[in-house]
Symmetry: C3
Subunit: 152 residues, 3 copies
């Protein structure tokens, strides 16, 4: 099946927006029932090293992770801003790669670059929409400057 490019763009934009507004329940709803979510420093990935910073291979596990992130966030209160660049749509629209920059603003009002990297998402059709089957987040650095207190 071929996915509509518009639906791919929408899914990515939605993905970032729901984190930035802390709508984590809706955000979880973007994932397929059976899904995988990984954050991997890209040098590990390139060398075939398995070590992931975050690894969830079911939606239940991802829900759990979100709950603990929210707990951690009490000690690192901030807001996120995802700026997602032009994506590369591959494999009839069921695979997409998109570069991103995430900025964080702390309680003093200071905004900093938090992380950059690449989303590599495998999608699956779900009615008129698309859901995320496998989200691989290739982080540009192994040194995440502060606590990963919200999902990327």
């Amino acid at each position: 099946m071929k996915a509509d490019r518009t639906a791919v763009f929408d899914l990515l934009a939605e993905y970032g927006a729901l984190i930035d507004t802390a709508n984590f329940d809706e955000w979880l709803g973007l994932f397929a029932e059976e899904c995988r979510y990984r954050i991997v420093p890209h040098e590990n990935f390139d060398r075939g090293l398995p070590a992931a910073l975050v690894f969830c291979d079911s939606r239940a596990m991802l829900e759990d992770r979100i709950r603990s992130l929210r707990e951690a966030n009490k000690y690192n209160i901030h807001t996120d801003r995802h700026v997602i660049g032009l994506p590369r749509v591959l494999d009839d629209g069921l695979m997409v790669e998109a570069p991103f920059a995430v900025f964080q603003t702390d309680q003093e009002g200071e905004t900093r670059l938090f992380a950059t990297g690449l989303y590599r998402d495998r999608l699956e059709p779900s009615g008129l929409h698309l859901k995320i089957r496998d989200k691989l987040i290739l982080l540009d650095t192994f040194a995440v400057p502060t606590l990963l207190a919200t999902p990327l």
Copy 2:
């Protein structure tokens, strides 16, 4: 009426490009005759506080604002670069949300992150194009690092 997604993307791209090239007359032309333009720190907005950093509720007022910004810019000479991320098109294309990062470069040639935030625009059809009816700029910080010498 349903707006064309292409027109929505074009309007946003045009919006950033016209500020970055300091074409403020053309930039004003992107707004509807009756329009509103607000810059609001998002924590104020989230709490329902009315305080806006900039508030214009007519195009005349916006023109005025631009004129004074240009005056201010004599004391803070810089260039802007808007990088607007993938937008979320809502309400049949007459509402759009887009994350942005604005970078500024000063006369010494140093480029810095100036501000990040979210555009939330209500659009209206105008012939083959769209115009901005209501632009709400939700800034990620209440602490804008330097003078707001150009529009966001």
Copy 3:
């Protein structure tokens, strides 16, 4: 001839992705046989000054340049991340302008804003695809913080 907007978006996304994954041979393949590639600080360009930081007016010259960049990169090992914002499609899709931010991550894992600017590309149809005929990279600063060790 009119170019498809989808093809324009794809070409830009591909352009950034191929640099970020260091696939320079494929990257070269995005250019037409007869092509031009220039990096110019935008203040020079605005004043009509000819000085370019990089100037290649054939693909052979661009290949040569890439080879020497790779040599330089041995002394400045890093990875790039291109975040390309919403583009402005002009002239029936054969001209495109897109703002960009490039972030670099060094071997210590530190990610920094490297450069911002505007791509101004003249394209030409090539079968079902588009190729770059003339790439003008307007850099926001004349002061590139470190060695230009990969193409922008």
